[in-house]
């Protein structure tokens, strides 16, 4: 790039000059700590030099302009018979009338298009309503915008800002009033008054807290967190209430089971998963060998991460996969965590088979099911 050619001579100099800080700004130039307001009230002087007279001369409706406001780019009021303006007016009118079409269409479709699910239903019902509503709203909206852009007189105005901070005298006066009034209350001198006020008024804040505690039901909190509806001898049933018999679930099968107690299928913590594998595929510790029956094993379905149901079972890998945050458990190895944010195995329910061949629980889960909580010891 060459310095030589730069259009008319002198421009290069003047550009550099433009960038120089002007004299008289020594203490303010360069990086510095600019505390305090840099705008003084005088900066906001609304000079009366810019009076209505000047505007009236320039623009005809200057008398209507607010004090302290001037016109930067005047706008011209468009004459009524201007051809372009007439065309614009027709466009705007067309849009406004389109809105009418939209409303009429909306009402017609609302009433006439079939809307009886199961018998006579048109999937175009909602889209048609949307089409005509949009037509109506866009008609008005686009019409208004086009009107403003093409027909209204739009001038670029300059308006002065007001100072943000108050005058120092005013500030001082306000502070003085506050201080004097505060003195009048007697608080600064009367420590007994002050301290008892703080105590009394402050304690009011505590008043609503016991009321809010009514929102909770805490009597059986520990019980609720640590136990489920499973008990010794309770049968495993499906959501329709039918008990599960040994042999009904095929190898590689999985069944959602609930305890056979009243409202057993509604208790969120009791839902469990019965999985059947080949017995040789199961790897369990010695003390849990009798918790499963012939390759049938039951885990809690409530994810130990955040409680979503872990229902996704991969038959070949024996992975249990939670759809919420992808925690993965190995169902053949006591639901050990393989991947994901869960930190604990899924609890296992010890099961056996009753005399009729139906699955029963040997008792409740040996640990709290579901996500961790502060009071959980392990």
């Amino acid at each position: 790039m060459s310095d030589v050619s730069n259009g008319p001579s002198g421009n290069q100099e003047s550009v550099r000059d433009r960038l120089k800080s002007p004299a008289g700004h020594g203490e303010q130039s360069g990086p510095g700590d600019s505390r305090g307001s840099d705008l003084s009230t005088s900066d906001f002087q609304q000079t009366d030099s810019r009076t209505d007279a000047a505007e009236a001369v320039g623009h005809g409706h200057g008398q209507l302009v607010e004090h302290g406001t001037t016109v930067l780019h005047p706008g011209k009021r468009v004459p009524l018979d201007d051809a372009a303006a007439r065309a614009a007016e027709r466009k705007v009118a067309g849009l406004f009338l389109l809105a009418v079409v939209g409303v009429v269409g909306f009402v017609v479709c609302f009433i006439a298009v079939p809307f009886d699910f199961g018998t006579d239903y048109s999937p175009a019902y909602t889209p048609l309503l949307g089409l005509f509503m949009t037509m109506a709203l866009v008609g008005v909206g686009a019409g208004a915008v086009l009107w403003a852009k093409t027909l209204m007189v739009d001038e670029e105005m300059v308006q002065e800002r007001h100072p943000f901070a108050s005058e120092p005298e005013t500030r001082g006066e306000a502070a003085a009033i506050l201080a004097a009034g505060f003195q009048d209350t007697g608080l600064p001198r009367r420590s007994l008054l002050r301290n008892s006020l703080l105590l009394g008024a402050g304690s009011l804040a505590i008043l609503p807290v016991p009321l809010l505690f009514g929102l909770g039901r805490f009597q059986h909190k520990e019980d609720a967190l640590r136990t489920t509806s499973w008990k010794k001898g309770v049968r495993l049933v499906r959501s329709d209430g039918s008990p599960v018999k040994l042999g009904e679930v095929a190898v590689g099968g999985v069944e959602t089971v609930f305890p056979d107690v009243p409202d057993g299928n509604k208790a969120a913590d009791s839902a469990s998963l019965l999985i059947r594998m080949r017995p040789d595929e199961l790897v369990v510790r010695e003390s849990r060998k009798d918790w499963s029956v012939d390759g049938h094993i039951v885990y809690s379905v409530v994810c130990t991460h955040l409680g979503c149901p872990v229902k996704l079972y991969e038959q070949q890998t024996h992975h249990l996969f939670c759809p919420c945050h992808q925690s993965t458990f190995d169902a053949s190895r006591e639901a050990k965590v393989l991947f994901g944010p869960a930190a604990r195995n899924l609890p296992q329910l010890a099961i056996s088979v009753d005399a009729q061949g139906y699955f029963i629980a040997q008792g409740d889960y040996s640990e709290p099911v579901g996500p961790s909580f502060w009071e959980r010891k392990s």
Partner: protein, 540 residues
Amino acid sequence: MSLATKGAEGTATWVDDRLASSGFVKRSLNKVFPDHWSFMLGEIALYSFVILLLTGTYLTLFYDGSSREVIYNGSYVPLRGIPMSSAYESTLRISFDVRGGLIMRQIHHWAALLFLAAIVVHLMRVFFTGAFRKPRELNWLIGVGLLVLGILEGFAGYSLPDDLLSGTGLRIAYSIALSIPVIGSWAAFLVFGGEFPGHAIIERLYPIHILLVPGVIIGLITFHMGLIWYQKHTQFAGPGRTETNVVGSRLYPAYAAKAGGFFFLVFGVMTALGGFAQINPIWLYGPYDPSKVSAGSQPDWYVGFLDGSTRLMPNWELRTLGHTFSFNVLFPTVILPGILFTALALYPFLEAKFTKDRAYHNLLDRPRDRPVRTGIGAAAISFYILLMIAGGNDIIATIFHLSINEITYTLRTGVLLVPPLVFVFARRACLSLQRADDDLLHHGIESGTIRRLPSGEFVEETVALPEQYAVLLTSLDTPARRALAAGGGHGDSDLATVRPREVQARPRGFFRPKGVQPSGAQHGSTVPELEGAQLENTVD
């Protein structure tokens, strides 16, 4: 027409007799608003909130916020005979038994998504242009408050139908509460009225969603707009624009017509989406059942970053001294958003502290002129987007047949590596753009005409920058410009030696030699050196 005018006059007189309103009317209708398209992003949020109020009120006429169990017997055949809560049943009724109910439900939900999307985009505009600086820090805080309230309001809203997808989200919320140390189980049982699911959460979310939170939001929006009205909007630097004025259109009639028209256009986009794009098809999800779940369960987009952080978190949990400290839950859902939103709220004060800048700012920055701030913002956005992508890792795996495990591992590294890289690149990009501006200032525009000098050298002629652009560029005070002014050179070495710091000296409007009248500075250019120059936008 005269009848209308007489009527208007009569009304105005009646009101003015009682309120002395004419002064207010005069000031308000003449108020000048700067117009730049990016200043309308906040309006999108405002208008979508109005649409939410309108459609939401309609929905309250039909919705039943009750967890009482009923057996469905409505029009939607595939759910007939299924037990469900009354809340879910009433939402089905709105969708299939009330004419126009489905489109109103869909407009309401789309408007909620737009409300938050507009807030986020508006926040980014305010951030990158530095509009949060003094005296507007309070408005920034209100804005962050509106963002947080909006997220909570949306979560409450989409949980009201009590469907399988949102119910899964409530289960997760309950478990997050449980994990809080010391008070967790108390908090969870308090909010849900006992053990999950209980029979209280829908009944409580309903008044929170239709009364409490909207009330606070309306109050905050009023305060937010009041501050803009009172302090006047910021504006970009340019011809005639100074720190002490506002250049733009008067409110009445053009600006009001455009703003009003924009409201109807936003509404029109919402009705188009509401009619043509299905959203939250609760009849397909089914009623909430704690033992059922769908693959690919996600929250609405504005909670997605939390879902992503939760999915990426390694399973670190501490069990000691008889208690469990679930860091794997607490960090991504409580600690991380706490840090992010606190940093967001405090940013104006942090930046002022680090740049030692306590001046008033009514002129906006171009992002390139603040490389570090732009870099920080870009890095934050990249972090946020990566978390949102992580929240959809199973959808990505499903559609593209990728391994969800590999996606998770990649994103775990990504969220740590990518934001710093983005910071570096964005900052360098800003510096390059500044350099390009400086070249333009120094050399003018390349004209395309090649001239041969007598010495034999070929040079390209350049044309000086038109005055209004020169004013625009010179009105911005950046370290590179100061270096240019001081040294005069423009080679790379000059700029390379300048270590850019985010220090803002006085805004240009105050570079004023002693003795120059204030009125002089309020004409045209902000730079007094140019006062003598012929500028096409001066009044005289």
